[in-house]
Each structure stands twice: as C-alpha cells, then as structure tokens.
C-alpha cells in the first residue's frame, strides 16, 4: 500500500446522513469481475437509466469531477461490507473522507486502501461543512495526517483525532499481511494449544465423510 501523509485538492460536499455502500457501489449495475469503478461510483445518482448524466448532481458538476476529499454527514459508508465502495471513491481520486461518524466495516476498508477516514465532532463538522460549501470546489483543502489538521479557505486549521495504529499504518503504507506474518510463530503456537485444549475449534469436519 502507498504511504499517505497529505491529501490536498478539491473537497466535495455530500452533506447527507447514512450514505450507504450500495449507493457508492451499486453492484447490480457492475458488469463482470472488473467493472469501471470510477463509472460505478454513485452511478444511480449520476446517470439516468439511459446513461445520460444528471447534470446537477454534485459529482457531475465541473468543479467536482476530480475530488480528493469527501465531506459527508453521519454514518457514512453504512450497509454492505463491499470494499468496492472504497475502490470507487479511490478510482476518482478521493483519498480522505470526513464525516460526523463512519461505519465500522467501511472505515476498515478505507484503511486497507490508503484512504484516510476522519470523524469530527458536531461543532468542527458544522464549520468544515460551511467552508467546503462556500469554497464550492474553487479553492483547495489540505489534510495533514502527520500534524492531524485539516486546512482550507474560510477559517483556521481544524484538528482531528486518529488512532495511533491507523496513523502509523497509513503513513508507513504498511503491508498488512507482512505485518501480521511477523506473528506467524505465535499463530502456530495458538493453533497447537487450541488443538490440545478445545480441539473442535481446530477441526472442521463433516462427520459423515
């Protein structure tokens, strides 16, 4: 995974609660195992059934066609565990999502793909939403993961919290599996102990076979 320390670019406002992953990645419309994820992103909102664009939808407005930061409401990314929701965001260039709250599985999927998920409290979020709406894509916002700040037109820098483990993982661009593989001997020891203590957990067998 690529290291992520800063995100700078257009911040797109999607000030709506409970935007779910079905909407982000409507897999019913995906053709085959490797769909065009950029095209799939919010496809039902961006396109009419005949494929023509819905001009006033935010992602179709010219200033928001290449966003880097997505600013949402609360419970962003709820619903299905589909990682394709993050792949769709990534495909159009989004590397940071900021919301009042972010759904658990979606947050994990963001971290797995080098997308920074930020949760802000209501006061900070109210301010940021106003500033992002006022900027209307004309001026850039920037997120500094090292310093844990969000900066942009219309006010002071906004601080944010991030789990130390998540920060480290994104900044170092850590290989998740590699990191866990360092514990291979502990995993093998756990298996051996469990086979001795509670063997049914280590043996999944059809007893009729």
């Amino acid at each position: 995974m690529q290291s992520l320390t800063h995100v700078t670019g257009v911040a797109i406002p999607m000030i709506e609660d409970d935007l779910n992953t079905d909407q982000m990645a409507p897999l019913q419309l995906a053709k085959g195992l490797k769909p065009d994820y950029a095209d799939l992103l919010f496809k039902r909102r961006r396109q009419n059934p005949d494929g023509s664009l819905i001009a006033d939808y935010v992602l179709n407005q010219p200033q928001f066609t290449a966003p880097s930061i997505l600013v949402a409401g609360s419970n962003f990314g709820c619903g299905s565990s589909r990682e394709s929701a993050v792949w769709c965001l990534y495909a159009v260039g989004i590397r940071c999502v900021i919301a009042r709250s972010i759904a658990d599985i979606f947050r994990e999927n963001c971290l797995q793909n080098g997308v920074l998920p930020i949760e802000l409290d209501d006061a900070a979020m109210d301010g940021l939403q106003q500033r992002v709406l006022a900027a209307d894509g004309a001026a850039h916002f920037s997120v500094d993961l090292e310093a844990q700040t969000i900066d942009g037109p219309g006010g002071e820098a906004i601080g944010f919290d991030v789990r130390a483990s998540d920060k480290l993982r994104l900044i170092e661009g850590l290989d998740e599996i590699g990191l866990t593989m360092k514990h291979a001997s502990e995993i093998r020891a756990w298996e051996a102990q469990t086979l001795a203590d509670t063997p049914w957990l280590q043996q999944a067998r059809d007893k009729r076979a």
């Binding site: 909407q23 897999l27 195992l33 990682e83 995993i187 999944a204």
Partner: protein
C-alpha cells in the same frame, strides 16, 4: 465483580493471538466462509502475491450471491453471474477449499448453511466477507463481516487484525404476542438505537425474550445487528443451543461433544461483568413491524402510519421527506391497505424452515392476489429439501408462489432478481435502501407472516386480521 467477563470478552481473549506493532490485536478465525461476489478478487490478489491459503481445512466457499434461483439453474442461467461462480470455483479448487457449489445438496446462503451444518459453534470465531456474518452470533459465536482485503488477510494468516470493540448489552424484556417474531424485535431495536447506534460495539442480546427464542429466531435477531451499525452481535448459548446443535453433521461428537459442552457452559457472561453501554427494551406490546422508509430504523407497527413531518426531529426532516417521496407515501399515510406488487420471502434474515412454516400456514388453502408476484427462496438446499418433505413447496405453489432454488436472490439483488421501478415490495430481507432491489423499487421490510399475508391480500394487511385472530 472482580474478573467477571462478558461472553464477548471470553471469546475474544481465547482467540487473542498477539498484538501487532501498530497496536491492533490479532484474533484467530476458526471458521472462514467465503462467497462468490467478493472471494474471486481476494483469490486473485493472493495468487498475485504468491501466497497460499493458511488453513484450507477451516475455509469454505459458498455460491450464493450471484446464482440464479430458477429451477434447473446452471452457471449461465444468470449470465452476468457466471464469471463470479466460475472464478469462485476455480479459486477454491486451486487453494484446496471445499466449495458448496451449484448442485451440492448443502449449497445455500453462507449464514444459513454454516449454522445448520454445525460448522460454526458456540464460542467460535467466524468471518465472512459479508456484513451479515453477524447472523451466526445466534449460536453464541463471535463473527466479523469483513472487506475483500481483510478476507485476503485471513486467507493468508487465519487471523484478523482488529481494534477491540466496546460492549453493549440489549436486554429484551417481556413476552412476544402471537405473530410477533425475531424480525419484529430486531426492527424495533433498530428504531430504538438508530442505524448507527451500535457502531463501535459488539452487541450481546439478553433477557427473557431471547431465552424463549428458538435458534432460528436468534439467528434472525443477530442477522440485523449490522443494521444498527455493529459488526458483531451474539447470544449466550444455552440448552436450546446445545439441543439444536447435537447431531448436526459438522458438530463434535462423542467425547469431544462432552468436552465442548463443558466448555460452552462456561461462556455466558458472568454476573456483574462490565458493559460499556446497556439498554433495556420491553417487547410485550410489540406488534408486527413494517418499515415505511429507506433505512431499517424507519419502522412502525403494521397498524401504524408514515410519520408527520412535524413529529420528526428538525435535523431529520429533509431525509424523512426524501424517504417518503421515494416510497411513494404522504406524511401520515397509513400503511395498511397499500397495494403490493411483489412479495419476497427468503434471505439470510428469514429463510429457515420455521420462517417458511409460518408463511406456509398463512398461504395454505389461499391464493396469491391476482397480478401480484410472490417468491419463496429457501435459505439453503437443505432447508428446501426439508420444506419439500413437509409439503410446504406444494402449499406455496398451489397458492401461486414461485418456489426457488437457494441463494441470496432479491436480498442483494446481485443475481438479476429485481423488481420494476416504483413497484412496492414486501420483503423478509434486511435492507430497504433506495434501489437495493432494483432502481426505484419501494421495499418494505417485514417478517414472513406479514409478507405471506400481503401476498394473499394483495395489500399491506395485519396478518392477525387475515387469520381472524384480531
């Protein structure tokens, strides 16, 4: 009480393998079940990285999301799904993973098959690349829905790297009225907690309502945990659990069963164990529930109405208005009497034998309303066979329902099964999101009793009126 632990804590600490340098805890996964919509991508990534599946003997593949449910189906019956089904089969074979393929007598929806075979057990950890992995918490297992990269990680290492969630206990008090079941209870909890009220928590369901529930009902209850925003939900195992599991083909037997039973009896939460948050809900007055909106918390009793905007919190008004418009409802409109175009009975939420028995009891000797399309899709091929042995298929088809092969069908609608724009669907599934069952489709979530009653009446109706019990 010093040292008192919750059910969740006991399973978590038994499965804690180590702590990574980034602070994440490594939790061993005892049973890893894959499905065709997401596993092919993980198999491909694994192959590219030259990595092997760590424990193919603890890993199982289920063909459920992109399969047709039409009788006589093949890979190609739903042409768009064929690539997924084949990639799943090939990836699984390459990695020595057992596939429950089309035609396998035990194929079905993973969250139905894993419990019914006794593959997943109390006190075990379970992962599926699907948010409804939480279903199997009904047996007292700790389950995690995960994404594709996490899936690849588990394939390679057999552990998942997590930050420990907080603990929430939901106490369900009272006794349920007739025709009120686990689905209604779960929808009511979601209304109470909200769709993100469980975020960051593992939820334990407790109280007399849960104790009185069958395992199938507990599976339904736990299934909807993700709709509260929580990844894991579970119920402490008890004699109901042990009796249900005894003799299942993958469950331990003989001396191992005895040892397992002794262990399982130690799992329930200790008196005085700490919960970060606790809520108590009395279910005594609960009526059969039906959603009116586009998220599962937008729900009311079947005799209820869509909300008036002035009754909704100001911050939620715009979203409520949007949901009502999508659903084709006016504020304050009663739900009973709305004409229904389609009924779907199935999914990991409500497709087990008792669900089908409830629906069949209502369908027996009656006819599906003219012009209404009604579908029953058993949760597994095993459920299908058991239902057929009891003659339920005949009851359904005589009444005019379609009787399908097993799969996710109109729950995920990634197998071509969708409704037409603006159709009103009563569905025993778990998500009433916009467009979930097809563009513009108006989904009302209900339990099997209300679904079957609507199929007969052709409109939303209180099942108790249809059967003359109210």
């Amino acid at each position: 009480m010093q040292g008192a632990k919750t059910l969740f804590d006991k399973i978590w600490s038994q499965h804690l393998v180590g702590r990574r340098v980034d602070g994440r805890e490594l939790i061993y996964i005892d049973r890893h079940v894959l499905h065709d919509l997401h596993a092919p991508h993980a198999f491909e990534k694994l192959a590219k990285a030259g990595r092997a599946v760590s424990r193919p003997d603890l890993t199982f593949s289920m063909q459920d999301h992109s399969v047709s449910v039409l009788p006589g189906r093949t890979d190609d019956t739903y042409a768009e799904g064929a690539a997924f089904v084949r990639a799943m089969r090939e990836g699984s074979k390459r990695n020595n993973v057992r596939v429950f393929d089309l035609g396998d007598p035990e194929q079905g929806i993973s969250h139905v098959v894993a419990p019914e075979l006794g593959m997943v057990l109390p006190g075990a950890t379970h992962a599926v690349p699907d948010s409804h992995a939480c279903t199997v918490g009904g047996l007292g297992a700790l389950a995690f829905g995960c994404g594709t990269t996490e899936l690849e990680h588990i394939l390679a290492t057999q552990v998942i790297a997590l930050s420990r969630p907080k603990r929430l206990r939901v106490n369900l008090e009272g006794k349920l009225k007739p025709y009120v079941a686990a689905k209604d209870v779960a929808l009511h909890i979601i209304a109470h907690l909200g769709v993100s009220g469980g975020a960051g928590y593992a939820i334990e369901y407790a109280g007399p309502v849960v104790r009185a529930m069958s395992i199938e009902s507990r599976l339904t209850l736990c299934n909807l945990t993700i709709e509260m925003g929580s990844r894991s939900g579970l119920v402490a195992p008890d004699d109901t659990t042990f009796q249900w599991l005894a003799g299942r083909p993958w469950a331990p037997e003989g001396a191992q069963w005895d040892a397992a039973l002794t262990h399982w009896r130690t799992l329930p939460s200790d008196e005085g164990a700490f919960y970060d948050h606790e809520v108590t809900i009395d279910c005594t007055q609960l009526d059969p529930q039906i959603t009116w909106g586009t998220e599962p918390s937008q729900v009311t009793g079947v005799g209820g109405r869509a909300p008036e905007l002035h009754d909704v919190e100001p911050t939620r008004r715009a979203a409520t208005q949007k949901a009502l418009a999508y659903m084709g409802l006016s504020p304050g409109a009663p739900l009973e009497g709305l004409a229904v175009d389609r009924v779907f009975i199935g999914s990991c939420t409500n497709s087990r034998l008792p669900d089908l028995e409830i629906a069949a009891a209502i369908a027996r000797g009656r006819k599906v309303a003219p012009g209404l399309v009604a579908m029953v899709v058993p949760g597994s091929s095993t459920v299908k066979r058991q239902a057929e042995a009891r003659g339920l298929d005949k009851i359904f088809t005589d009444a005019g329902f379609m009787w399908g092969e097993s799969g996710c069908s109109m729950c995920a609608s990634t197998n071509g099964d969708t409704a037409a724009p603006q159709e009103r669907v009563l569905s025993t599934t778990n998500r009433n999101f916009e467009n979930r069952q097809g563009r513009g489709v108006r989904t009302h979530l209900v339990g099997p009793a209300l679904a079957a009653a609507a199929a007969i009446a052709g409109k939303i109706v209180d099942v108790r009126k249809l059967t003359g019990e109210a």
